[in-house]
């Protein structure tokens, strides 16, 4: 029977909210055993997130945010404020390969669980710290959320319609996810190194720096030409047309991009060569680019008369890049994603069936991944304390007494 790539890897996971849990999310799906350390005093913040008005006070195990970020993981509750709790956690780390955290500050150090401490505990441990501004430097103690980082790194200043004010990025957690993915990759690299040399190491990830490395051309343009780019809307600095156009129906849009004279010809044929396509102003790429405002207006005349899917089909058949601007619900129904089984139904004891997005890739010869439901608070206490640490029921009971397991 085929195994998952990371089967046999164990992670002690102190991550919470968005960015952190996302890191371990990828690893869990790929087969790593991720043990979340929470407690009833400090449940993962997202357990108490709630959206919409469906239920104003969902239980700690019913948050969609939490469900999305933590499937495939295990969870035990330890009261880390107590020395005994920290000792207990150490026992778990001793039998783990990786420790992950994304606290707002140097919490781990204060707990005596900094990398240097963990090394003594387990020399080849790999420790991952994710933070908004990095574990060194002036801001190391500052709390940060993705939008803060986005704003700081300059992402907002590049987002928005052409020439508009800086604009928050549509997906609040963008940099959370991107950073998490960089973190996951770094951990895999460190694991690879360990499997070759037996050495562990410390990974310090700063979301700000991730955001920067995701703006290469804007930053290179600044360092090369001292130019500060502004918001470009849907435009490109070479292609035209390159925009998002109204379609038939309410708030329906399609994105169209034309990258060459050939594609332009194909485009004109596809929309039936209206008068204006022969216009001097659109004769060649350079002129199209210079007159794209007018061009966009005219193209919209055409797109308006089709649904976005119709327009996509017409143009793609002609070999022109075009994609509807899908609403979330359209994404869920998208025939292509369906056929690729991008969504997976997860049975959740308290939430029922939750349909969630898979990881965005497929491995040809591995099972598709560990998509067990997100754990309820403390769901795996038995597994962790009994099976993993071989503790007796009495001992466990005692620790519960002492509110160490809480």
């Amino acid at each position: 029977m085929q195994k998952l790539p990371l089967e046999g890897i164990r992670i002690t996971d102190f991550c919470h909210v968005w960015a952190g849990p996302h890191v371990t999310q990828w690893l869990a799906v790929m087969g790593a055993e991720v043990i979340k350390i929470e407690s009833n005093l400090h449940p993962d913040l997202t357990r108490s997130f709630f959206a919409g008005d469906k239920t104003l006070t969902p239980g700690l195990n019913q948050s969609v945010d939490f469900a999305v970020l933590n499937y495939g993981k295990k969870c035990c509750t330890i009261n880390m404020t107590l020395p005994k709790g920290r000792e207990l956690a150490k026992e778990i780390m001793r039998v783990s390969d990786i420790v992950t955290e994304n606290f707002g500050g140097a919490v781990m150090d204060r707990w005596g669980l900094g990398y240097s401490d963990l090394q003594k505990l387990k020399p080849d441990i790999i420790m991952y710290s994710g933070s908004g501004f990095g574990r060194t430097g002036p801001y190391k103690e500052l709390p940060a959320y993705a939008p803060i980082v986005d704003a700081f790194a300059g992402l907002f200043s590049l987002n928005g319609c052409l020439g508009s004010e800086p604009c928050p990025f549509g997906v609040g957690g963008w940099t959370d996810l991107v950073a998490a993915q960089h973190g996951a990759f770094a951990i895999l690299a460190a694991l690879h190194h360990r499997s070759n040399t037996g050495e562990g190491q410390y990974i310090d990830l700063s979301m700000t720096e991730v955001a920067s490395s995701f703006l290469p051309d804007a930053i290179m343009d600044y360092t090369m030409n001292d130019r500060v780019q502004g918001a470009q809307g849907n435009r490109d600095n070479a292609m035209a047309p390159h925009g998002c156009y109204r379609c038939q129906g309410d708030d329906e849009w399609i994105a169209i991009a034309v990258s060459s004279d050939e594609e332009w010809k194909a485009f004109c044929d596809a929309i039936g060569n209206p008068e204006w396509t022969t216009d001097e102003r659109f004769r060649d790429g350079l002129n199209r680019w210079k007159n794209q405002e007018e061009l966009d207006r005219l193209i919209q005349e055409w797109t308006k008369t089709y649904s976005h899917h119709e327009a996509m089909e017409i143009l793609q058949r002609a070999g022109v890049m075009a994609g509807p601007s899908l609403k979330a619900e359209e994404v869920v129904q998208d025939s292509h994603l369906r056929e690729r089984e991008f969504f997976i139904d997860i049975e959740h004891p308290e939430m029922g069936t939750v349909r969630l997005a898979r990881l965005p890739w497929k491995l040809s010869d591995s099972p598709q991944g560990n998509y067990n439901h997100a754990p309820s608070l403390g769901e795996h206490n038995d597994y962790v304390f009994k099976e993993l640490l071989n503790m007796s029921d009495e001992k466990i009971a005692q620790l519960q007494e002492e509110q160490v397991i809480l």
């Binding site: 790539p5 959206a51 919409g52 469906k54 969609v64 501004f133 801001y139 939008p147 803060i148 704003a151 790194a153 300059g154 992402l155 907002f156 928005g160 319609c161 604009c167 928050p168 549509g170 997906v171 963008w174 991107v178 990759f185 690879h192 499997s195 190491q201 990974i203 310090d204 990830l205 700063s206 490395s213 995701f214 290469p216 051309d217 804007a218 290179m220 360092t223 090369m224 030409n225 292609m239 109204r246 849009w253 994105a255 169209i256 793609q316 609403k327 979330a328 994404v331 869920v332 292509h336 939750v354 969630l356 997005a357 990881l359 965005p360 890739w361 497929k362 491995l363 040809s364 010869d365």
Partner: protein
């Protein structure tokens, strides 16, 4: 020694997604041989920014950044000799990264089924707009259309007054392509681990549409589970608690989505009376009345400078920052103190400042050992020293347009 020093990678990719995947591996020590078509080479070579806006094959900022630490060869794999050499390279590699359209790859006979016969250990990562299967598999796409086809653009920008006038927006720069490359790197490393155990490689099928869709996994769950759909309309996304505000001399962004943050923020504002009102006492009430709160906050902010607000807020540990341009962030004391930016010297483009490591590994540092390759710079090293062709062969192959 880099964390991935033992890995041999062949990158047969254009533009951004594949090359970024290759860069992530190369920057951690993997040996990445970048295969470019003779002549124009990678499409990014034609994309700006260029120093002084003077287009030059070897001076594209985008290319320079995306291809650090790689060996560069020029090879026309459509020629018989080229295909031959390409296969020779693959038999010696652990990983192939490609981002060409599926039917093109099949036509050339470089599909996974064929290649794994050549090298069963090979991990082949295919990064395409819509993946290797499904009705859209052969559709064309670019960063723009992928963004829109993923549902991401529809939610951007998050707060518009008039959805008719403000269309859905793709993310800044090349976010989509980069994210695709990044995910490919994770998937590839996962496959490498399977290979440790099984000794067999596999095919990584990565769809950029899915990568971007998974960025809104929370919103998707909202649809499937809670029946909540969001748009760009004011309020539809906001959960209350964040302000992008105007002040005396610029913009600041502030977040107080918890009672603690709110309480502190109220102190930052000097405990104005309005803040004491019912309307703002609980997370729920705040969300309901957030527009009002925002108004009041902005009114206060207009009297302050960005600096004053940010310092005061940070002193009280309220997440708050100036809304920077890349210039301001590049010059921030933070990134300077972290030595984030690095200087790289390139034969043609000279010394330039590049974005540095997205993460710091204590034992096996990320670092730029060599700048982006000139087109075909390592033909001799790779073809002659490794594959044993002679220089005379190179001359012939060049004249035939093979290299």
């Amino acid at each position: 020694m880099g964390a991935l020093s033992s890995l041999k990678v062949v990158e047969w990719s254009e533009f951004i997604s594949g090359p970024y995947c290759g860069k992530l591996l190369a920057d951690l020590g993997a040996e990445v041989i970048k295969v470019e078509k003779p002549g124009c080479g990678d499409k990014t070579r034609s994309y700006g920014p260029f120093p002084q806006d003077m287009p030059h094959q070897e001076k594209s900022g985008l290319f320079l950044y995306l291809n650090t630490n790689k060996l560069g060869v020029s090879l026309n794999i459509r020629s018989v000799t080229g295909a031959e050499i390409f296969k020779e390279l693959l038999t010696e590699s652990d990983i192939l990264i490609e981002n060409h359209s599926p039917h093109e790859v099949e036509e050339l006979g470089f599909d996974y089924e064929t290649l794994k016969k050549l090298n069963p250990r090979l991990v082949m990562a295919s990064i395409t707009p819509f993946g290797q299967t499904g009705p859209y598999r052969d559709y064309k796409a670019c960063n723009l259309t992928s963004f829109h086809a993923s549902g991401l653009a529809y939610l951007n920008p998050p707060e518009v007054d008039d959805i008719e006038q403000e269309p859905p927006l793709r993310g800044p720069a090349h976010q989509g392509d980069l994210a695709a490359g990044l995910n490919a790197a994770i998937a590839t490393m996962s496959a490498i681990f399977s290979c440790h155990a099984t000794g067999l490689g596999q095919h990584v099928d990565l769809s950029e549409q899915e990568v971007l869709a998974s960025m809104i996994r929370r919103n998707l769950a909202g649809v499937t589970y809670e029946g909540i759909t969001m748009t760009r309309v004011k309020g539809s996304q906001s959960r209350g608690g964040s302000v992008m505000g105007h002040c005396k001399d610029g913009y600041f962004f502030m977040l107080c989505n918890t009672d603690k943050f709110w309480a502190n923020w109220v102190e930052v504002m000097g405990n104005p009376d309005w803040a004491a009102s019912e309307l703002f006492q609980t997370t729920i009430s705040r969300r309901e009345n957030w527009d009002a709160a925002k108004m009041m906050i902005e009114e206060w902010a207009r009297e302050q400078t960005v600096d004053e607000i940010v310092r005061a807020a940070q002193a009280k540990r309220v997440p708050c920052t100036p809304v920077n341009t890349v210039r301001e962030s590049a010059n921030s004391e933070l990134l300077a103190d972290r030595n984030y930016f690095i200087e790289v010297h390139h034969k043609e483009a000279g010394k330039l400042t590049y974005p540095g490591a997205p993460y710091k590994l204590s034992k096996t540092p990320w670092h730029v050992e060599r700048s982006a390759p000139l087109l075909g710079e390592h033909n001799e090293e790779v073809f002659c020293r490794r594959l044993g062709y002679t220089r005379q062969d190179l001359l012939i192959m060049r004249a035939e347009g093979v290299v």
